[in-house]
């Protein structure tokens, strides 16, 4: 099922570049339905909804996310400071080269996608034109990079990312980040926060790819519209709304991820560079995983 979807996505991306200046069905054959449905009581209100959201809210929320999330972490950093774990202990091998490669590929995609996406969101302050249009094209390129990364990433980690009993406790104690105390945090190889980020990246990311591809292609017919009972234009409006909200969530999580990796815990990023995690880090932050490793005498 999944495979078919990817196939469809890839072929349609190819098809888009072949298509000439042929009529779009949106302003071609479908225009009648699209126009007549707009603003009618029985119809979806996606048009006005999209307009209102995009005109008044999206940009503000993005700005809010960009300002508030880092601000919150700054406060966190200033008040609670970095967690520091010993880097002198044993090192535990957690990420193979391939996994790290895939991670950094995804990271590269994010480094392309998020700034270019934000350039479009705030395009008016950049004067639009070539600069922002280039950003739009790079956004598409970034998507392909992300697509290449997200599939293996999903396959590597999906089993380990399934929810466990630890996750609820982790959430309840906010991962221990609201305290300076070094305490054992209930978590397996991946804690609930990481799992959230994983699902955000894989499922949310797929959603971003799907909605983004829809917005990019405009003309496609894979039954999505009829499945949702929407006209093509309403499907696009739906996609645009979803794309924006997902983007906000992903950006917020991305900032968190970066903060966690770079600032919250000193030197934690090395695990994604070398593949090894500090034993102390694992003992405290992934206590269940540590116990499991202990049980298996791998530490």
């Amino acid at each position: 099922m999944m495979k078919k979807y990817w196939f469809v996505l890839i072929t349609s991306l190819l098809a888009a570049s072949i298509a000439s200046a042929a009529d779009s069905r949106i302003w071609g054959g479908m225009i009648l339905a699209n126009i007549l449905a707009y603003g009618q009581e029985h119809a979806t209100r996606l048009g006005p909804l999209f307009t209102t959201l995009q005109a008044f809210y999206f940009r503000k929320i993005f700005a809010g996310v960009l300002l508030c999330v880092p601000a919150a972490f700054l406060v966190h950093y200033l008040v609670l400071g970095q967690k520091v774990f010993s880097h002198d202990g044993e090192k535990i091998f957690v990420f193979s080269v391939f996994k790290r490669l895939v991670h950094w590929l995804a990271a590269l995609a994010f480094i392309i996608l998020i700034p270019t996406g934000l350039m479009m969101v705030f395009g008016r302050y950049l004067g639009g034109g070539t600069l922002v249009a280039t950003a739009r094209h790079l956004h598409g390129v970034g998507t392909v990079v992300f697509l290449v990364a997200v599939i293996p990433m999903f396959l590597f980690w999906v089993a380990e990312m399934l929810p466990t009993r630890d996750d609820m406790r982790w959430v309840l104690m906010a991962g221990g980040y609201l305290s300076r105390a070094k305490q054992e945090i209930p978590a397996g190889k991946f804690n609930a926060g990481q799992k959230m980020w994983f699902w955000m990246v894989t499922l949310g990311g797929s959603g971003m790819i799907a909605t983004g591809a829809a917005l990019y292609l405009q003309d496609f017919d894979y039954g999505a519209a009829s499945l949702l009972g929407l006209s093509q234009i309403d499907l696009l409006r739906f996609c645009a709304i979803v794309h924006n909200f997902l983007a906000m969530a992903i950006i917020a999580n991305f900032i968190t991820h970066v903060y966690m990796a770079l600032f919250a815990i000193k030197g934690v990023i090395s695990s994604m560079i070398t593949g090894y995690k500090e034993e102390e880090e694992v003992r405290f932050l992934h206590s269940s995983f540590y116990k499991k490793l202990k049980g298996q005498r791998q530490v």
């Binding site: 707009y38 603003g39 048009g47 006005p48 307009t51 209102t52 005109a55």
Partner: protein, 185 residues
């Protein structure tokens, strides 16, 4: 038969309301927003002729028999723009899609550009002189063999009056009544 006076107003009311509602869907929805600061002064609009030195030629559409007027703007011998003849007594500026596209007829890439002759299944470009020489020789040969009724002449409504009259005369002097045109359609 409905009573026009009696029924019209209520019907009109509803229809035009619906119509305005359709238009209003955009405008109405948008009225929630404030326009003020988005207005921008129109750019300088000195009336300039986009085709300096062009002349406006009055002519007639070559598609249907309604006979709509056309204003052709011609610059340096090139038909640069087709404009409407608002003051034409029959069309009053109106055209259908065929009429307003007459300029494309002139400019079409698919025009026959030079005389052509089919030789063994292939089209060959020839000169007018060659075409006239060869065709007339063949026509005269056929005439000598079978007489003037050997040829059928098809004229058309594309002709203007003068051409149509002369085509009839041309055929008569060739010596046949085998002449017809699209009136028999």
């Amino acid at each position: 038969m409905e009573n026009a006076q009696g029924n019209a107003p209520s019907k009109i009311g509803r229809r035009s309301f619906l119509k305005l509602a359709a238009i209003g869907a955009g405008i109405g929805a948008a009225s929630a927003f404030t326009a003020g600061k988005s207005l921008r002064a129109a750019s300088a609009e000195e009336i300039k002729n986009p085709f300096p030195g062009s002349k406006r030629v009055k002519t007639i559409c070559s598609i249907c028999s309604a006979g709509c007027g056309i204003i052709a703007e011609v610059q340096n011998g090139v038909w640069v723009r087709q404009d409407v003849a608002q003051d034409h007594p029959i069309s009053q500026g109106s055209h259908c899609c065929k009429g307003i596209d007459q300029i494309d007829l002139i400019k079409s890439k698919q025009r026959v550009k030079f005389p052509l002759k089919k030789v063994n299944g292939e089209w060959k470009r020839i000169t007018w002189d060659q075409a006239v020489d060869e065709i007339s020789a063949k026509m005269l040969k056929l005439r000598a063999e079978n007489g003037p009724d050997v040829a059928m002449f098809l004229g058309s409504a594309k002709f203007n009056l003068q051409q149509a009259y002369y085509f009839r005369k041309f055929t008569a002097m060739w010596g046949t009544n085998n002449i017809d045109h699209v009136a028999r359609v």
